[in-house]
Amino acid sequence: MFYDLNIPVSATTGSAAAAQEQLETKKRVELLVHLGYHVVAYNHEVVGKLPPHHVNPIQKLDLPGVNLKQLSRLTLVVDDMSQNYGLNTSNHVVSSYDLVAVQPTNEKLFQAACSTFEVDIISLDMSARLPFYLKHSTVGMAIERGIYFELGYSAAIRDASARRNLISNAQSLIRVTRGKNIILTSQAMRAIELRGPYDIINLNTVRAVASTEPIASLAENEQWKLGTKRKKESQQTEATSLPSKKAKETKS
């Protein structure tokens, strides 16, 4: 079972751009199904504090007869330590999303995210040089609390310098997390930037990274998360077998 937990969608509805995006989302979803993914999360990104009357804008596609689970995800880009972002389960707006992610922009907020924020995913912009070092002690807190780190690959497919940064950031992330609690997502704005699950797994072996961990990160971890952490929808997730063995055979 493969997951792509970051398909960015923007908020506006009713405009021409929104219709265009709807079409593009359909194309991305169509391709995801073709490539063999089973779960997709539409990601809505908000910079700064959530407005008080924020409504979850994500519309799931009507896909009769298609085996694809659709989730909604909120990513909050946080940059101000003094703000209260209200990231807790009692916040109705936040809990209207299936997944909540946070993207800290400086080291202090990264520490706060790892130690106190109630989120599922910590996202960092891996296509640029990270503005701070990842420390094992900080990252370890997040792992203990069951938070996952996100690696988005589509920027690396777009251009070469992003590819270099991603490889270097991925290595440091994998070093400090010891390969645990990493999820791979596409962050693809366009269908052409998506890749097959096994293709992405293979990239991790090219980068001389312990290969089993990223396999788990694509498949098992997310299932665990959905299975235990979040609300009604998650309870419907059945146990699924991890295709890692098959993947290994395919590769080696």
């Binding site: 391709l31 070469a160 366009r190 890749r195 097959g196 990239l203």
Partner: protein, 184 residues
């Protein structure tokens, strides 16, 4: 002396207008008839999967080699070029078989993942299977090829394009015998 070992990579090239077979979603052809929606960014590439087999084997192998050079440098090209051969490529279904040396299989696969366009057509390459013997690879390719051709033929029939449909019927037999005849 140890035998030189290869890997065979079965892959599929997916273009912007490749029909993917999700009936509930509008296919690329249906979208094409709606002039108010621009086909950006996956884009109207000007080629049509059912009609224009635009890609030659030579173009494809050059695209793969370029990507190896871009991502892994001269070292990568040097390490891979001895065994790197395109054993089979079907312009109907865009399915192909690439032979690589076993040690560098992951590297070549990685380079293929990073391909974004071939001859100006945006596309992505999906690896279907990796095998150690060409026999298994042939079986996989035949099955996949047949599924794709049958799907394309159904599409052509729905669009009442008899010429393409009959050509595709022929293509099933051609592709099977071609793959079978592939030398080991």
């Amino acid at each position: 002396m140890v035998r030189f070992k290869n890997r065979y990579i079965v892959f599929d090239i997916i273009y912007a207008d490749t029909p993917l077979g999700l009936s509930s979603l509008p296919s690329a052809h249906a979208l094409r008839n709606q002039p108010d929606i621009a086909l950006e960014p996956f884009g109207d590439t000007g080629r049509h999967n059912l009609r224009t087999p635009a890609l030659s084997q030579k173009d494809l192998i050059f695209a793969i080699k370029d990507s190896i050079a871009e991502n892994f440098g001269d070292y990568g090209v040097g390490m891979t070029q001895r065994a790197l051969t395109l054993k089979y490529f079907s312009p109907h279904t865009n399915v192909g078989i690439l032979r690589v040396s076993r040690e560098e299989a992951n590297m070549v696969w990685g380079a293929m993942t990073f391909i974004r366009q071939i001859k100006g057509n945006p596309c992505l390459i999906k690896v279907i299977h990796v095998t150690g013997t060409i026999k298994m690879c042939q079986l996989k390719t035949i099955a996949y090829d047949r599924d794709r051709i049958l799907y394309l033929r159904r599409q052509a029939q729905l669009m009442q394009d008899d010429e393409v449909a009959s050509r595709l019927t022929q293509a099933i037999h051609e592709s099977k015998s071609e793959i079978d005849a592939m030398e080991i």
